[in-house]
C-alpha cells in the first residue's frame, strides 16, 4: 500500500466543488505527474494533497492518517511544496533562503545546528548552486531561482516533493535541467515526486506514473505507455497526436498535434471531395 493516497475527496473554492469524490493513490519512491487541460482540477488536486486547500469531503491520507488531523509541522517533515509563484523576498542570499527549509526541524528559538547545516550544504550542492550561495536571490535567472526553491525543499529533508508546474516560464534547456535534477533525486534519493506539468512529452519521459484529468475527474492513470495513447489524449485534451517513441526514455511522445475538431473538418472535406 502507498504511504500517500486520496480517498473520496471533494474540494473546491468557496463552496463550488472542482473535484468531487475523487480517489487516487500516489506510488512511493516514484515520479507521478498530473496532466490535463486548463481548469481540469489538476492544481486543485495537488493543493489538496499538499493540505493547502481543505477538503470539503473525504480525506488525504499520509501514513494511514488523515492529513488534516496531523499537525502542519509534522506534515512539513514528510512533504515539501513548490508552488507556482515566482516572486522572491528581497535581500536574501541563497544560503539564507535555503536555510528557511530547516524551519520544521528547528525548535522555538535557536539557530542552525550542525545537522541543519549539513542538510543545507548538501541541498545547495546537489542543485549545483555552491558557487552562488552568498549571492542575492534576486540577482539570479529564472532557472537558477527555481533551483533555489528546489534546494529549499530539499533542505526540508522530506521524502515527498510536491511541485506545481516547476518548468513554467523556463526556456527549453532549463526545463530539461530541472526535470533531470528531479529524476536524479528520485533515483539517488528515492524521493517520491508528485507534480503538475503542461508538457506531455516531458511528463511521459520523466514519469513512472501519470494521472490524466478532465473536468475534475481522472480519465486514466498508470504508466506513460498506458496513459499516452491516441484515444486518451484525444479525450482529455481534444487534440490528435502523432505518437512515436522517445529515444531517451522509450516512453511514448508525439512530435506534432492537431486540434481534434480540425482533423474532423479535414476528414469531412476529404469525404465531400
Amino acid at each position: 500500500m502507498s504511504n500517500l493516497f486520496v480517498e473520496d475527496v471533494s474540494v473546491g473554492y468557496s463552496g463550488s466543488p472542482i473535484i468531487e469524490g475523487l480517489s487516487v493513490s500516489v506510488p512511493d519512491q516514484k515520479i507521478t505527474t498530473i496532466i490535463g487541460p486548463n481548469g481540469c482540477g489538476k492544481s486543485t488536486l495537488l493543493k489538496a494533497i499538499a493540505r493547502i486547500l481543505k477538503t470539503d469531503k473525504g480525506a488525504v491520507f499520509l501514513d494511514g492518517k488523515a492529513i488534516h488531523q496531523l499537525s502542519t509541522k509534522k506534515i512539513a517533515k514528510r512533504m515539501a511544496i513548490l508552488p507556482q509563484s515566482s516572486e522572491v523576498p528581497s535581500g536574501l542570499t541563497i544560503f539564507e533562503l535555503v536555510s528557511y527549509g530547516r524551519f520544521p526541524h528547528q525548535g522555538g528559538f535557536g539557530g542552525l545546528n550542525l545537522e541543519d547545516l549539513k542538510q543545507i550544504d548538501w541541498a545547495i550542492q546537489v542543485t549545483g548552486l555552491s558557487e552562488f550561495k552568498d549571492r542575492s536571490v534576486e540577482a539570479l535567472s529564472g532557472g537558477q531561482r527555481q533551483r533555489v526553491w528546489i534546494a529549499m525543499a530539499l533542505a526540508q529533508d522530506t521524502d515527498i516533493l510536491i511541485l506545481d508546474e516547476p518548468t513554467t516560464y523556463l526556456d527549453l534547456a532549463h526545463q530539461l535541467d530541472i526535470l533531470l535534477l528531479l529524476e536524479k533525486l528520485n533515483i539517488e534519493e528515492k524521493r517520491t515526486i508528485i507534480m503538475v506539468l503542461h508538457d506531455l512529452n516531458h511528463a511521459s519521459r520523466f514519469s513512472h506514473n501519470m494521472i490524466a484529468m478532465k473536468g475534475g475527474e481522472i480519465i486514466k492513470e498508470g504508466s506513460p505507455s498506458k496513459v499516452m495513447t491516441y484515444s486518451t489524449i484525444q479525450t482529455v485534451f481534444e487534440i490528435d497526436v502523432n505518437l512515436t517513441t522517445c529515444p531517451f526514455s522509450h516512453n511514448p511522445i508525439f512530435h506534432s498535434y492537431q486540434l481534434s475538431r480540425d482533423t474532423q473538418q479535414l476528414f469531412e472535406n476529404a469525404n465531400e471531395g
Binding site: 509534522k74 512539513a76 523576498p89 535581500g91 550542525l114
Partner: protein, 345 residues
C-alpha cells in the same frame, strides 16, 4: 541575535557587520540623548548635565532635566520603538512594504476613541487624561478587529492585499468621522484633539513612561523571538504552510502584538505616522531581510527617529513647538517618495 557558529563564514561576517550597525545606532542614540537633553528653552551644557545627573546641579536644573526633559526624551524613544516594531510586524505579515499602523487605520482608530472620549468628558480634569492610553488602546483594538473581520474570507483566510485595502478604507472612514466630531467640540478640547492628531509627545511625565514601558518590555522581545516565523510568513502563504507554519494562528497573534504596540505608543504621543513605515525600511537597507536583525534595528531606528524629530520640534520655533509627528512627516515624506521612485526603476 547570537551569531551562528555553524553558519558559513560570509554569513558570520554579515552577522558581525549587523552587530556593528546596531552598535553604531546605539552610539547615535546616546549622542542624540545628550544633545536632546541640553537643548530647549533653557540650555544645559554637557558639563551641567553631568553634574545634575550626579545630583550636583541646582534645583532648577534638576527640575528641568528630571521632571520635564528626561521623561519626554525617554517617552519619544519608547514611542518610536513601539511604532517602528508595529510597522515592522505589519509589513512582515502583510508582505507589503507600505503597511504601517498609520496607513492601516490602527492609529486613526485610537484617535477616534480619544476624540469620542474627550467629547464626553471635558479634558480639564485629571482623571480622563490618565485614562486616555487605555481608551486609545481600546480604539486601536476594535479597529484592528474590524479590519480583520472585514478582510477575512471563509475558507481562504486573510489575504495581505485585502487586509491593506480594508485598512486604508477604514482609516479614511475614521478620519472623516473625526473631522465631523471635532466640529462639535469646545475650543479647549478642540485644541487638545488638534495636538493629539498632529502627533505631539504630550504625555511628558514619568507616569506615562511607566504606563508604556511594560508593553515595550514584553512585546518587543516576544516579536524578536518570533523573527523566524515572520521570515517564513514573508515567503507567502503556500510556502509558509509547506514549511509547517500554522499561518492563520501566527498571523493573528502577530497582528495582535502590532496593534498593542501601536495603540500603546500612540496613546501617549498622538497619531504619529511614517515612523512605522520608514524605520523598518531603513533597517532592511542596513541589515538585510532576516527579522532577527530587522526587528531590533527597526526599534532602535524608530526610537532615534522620533527623538530627533521631537528635539527638532522643540527647538526650531522657540518658544513654541512643532509636534514631533509633523517633523517626522516632513522628514518621512521625501524619504517615502524617494523609495517609490527607486522601486519604479
Amino acid at each position: 541575535m547570537i551569531p551562528n557558529k555553524y553558519a558559513p563564514e560570509y554569513l558570520q561576517r554579515r552577522n558581525k557587520r549587523n552587530i556593528l550597525v546596531i552598535f553604531i545606532i546605539s552610539l547615535l542614540i546616546l549622542l542624540m540623548l545628550i544633545i536632546s537633553m541640553n537643548t530647549g528653552h533653557i540650555r544645559l551644557s554637557p558639563l551641567e548635565l553631568f553634574e545634575t545627573f550626579l545630583g550636583e546641579g541646582t534645583d532648577r536644573q534638576r527640575l528641568i532635566l528630571f521632571q520635564f526633559r528626561l521623561p519626554r526624551i525617554v517617552l519619544s524613544v519608547l514611542v518610536g520603538m513601539a511604532l517602528a516594531v508595529s510597522g515592522c510586524i505589519l509589513q512582515g505579515i502583510s508582505r507589503n512594504a507600505l503597511a504601517d499602523p498609520g496607513i492601516l487605520g490602527i492609529n486613526a482608530g485610537a484617535g477616534l476613541a480619544v476624540v469620542l472620549f474627550i467629547s464626553f468628558f471635558p479634558s480639564t480634569t485629571e482623571a480622563p487624561v490618565f485614562l486616555l492610553p487605555f481608551v486609545a488602546l481600546l480604539g486601536s483594538g476594535i479597529t484592528a478587529f474590524l479590519i480583520y473581520l472585514l478582510s477575512y474570507k471563509k475558507g481562504e483566510g486573510i489575504s495581505p492585499v485585502r487586509l491593506l485595502l480594508t485598512g486604508i478604507a477604514i482609516a479614511a472612514g475614521i478620519s472623516a468621522a473625526m473631522i465631523v466630531l471635532t466640529l462639535k467640540l469646545d475650543s479647549e478640547t478642540y485644541q487638545f484633539v488638534a495636538i493629539w492628531l498632529a502627533g505631539s509627545i504630550w504625555g511628558s511625565n514619568w507616569r506615562f513612561v511607566l504606563s508604556l514601558l511594560p508593553w515595550i518590555l514584553i512585546f518587543i522581545p516576544l516579536v524578536i523571538a518570533k523573527a523566524r516565523i515572520i521570515d517564513t510568513l514573508n515567503l507567502g502563504d503556500v510556502r509558509a504552510t509547506g514549511l509547517g507554519l500554522a499561518i492563520e494562528k501566527e498571523r493573528l497573534l502577530l497582528l495582535g502584538v502590532a496593534v498593542a504596540l501601536a495603540g500603546a505608543g500612540v496613546s501617549v504621543s498622538g497619531g504619529i505616522g511614517f515612523v512605522g513605515l520608514i524605520a523598518p525600511h531603513m533597517a532592511r537597507q542596513l541589515v538585510g531581510a532576516r527579522h532577527q536583525f530587522v526587528i531590533p534595528v527597526s526599534a532602535m531606528l524608530g526610537g532615534l527617529l522620533l527623538l530627533v524629530a521631537d528635539t527638532i520640534g522643540r527647538v526650531i520655533l522657540q518658544p513654541s513647538e512643532i509636534p514631533a509627528g509633523i517633523v517626522v512627516a516632513i522628514i518621512g515624506a521625501p524619504y517615502f517618495l524617494y523609495l517609490l521612485v527607486k522601486s519604479n526603476t
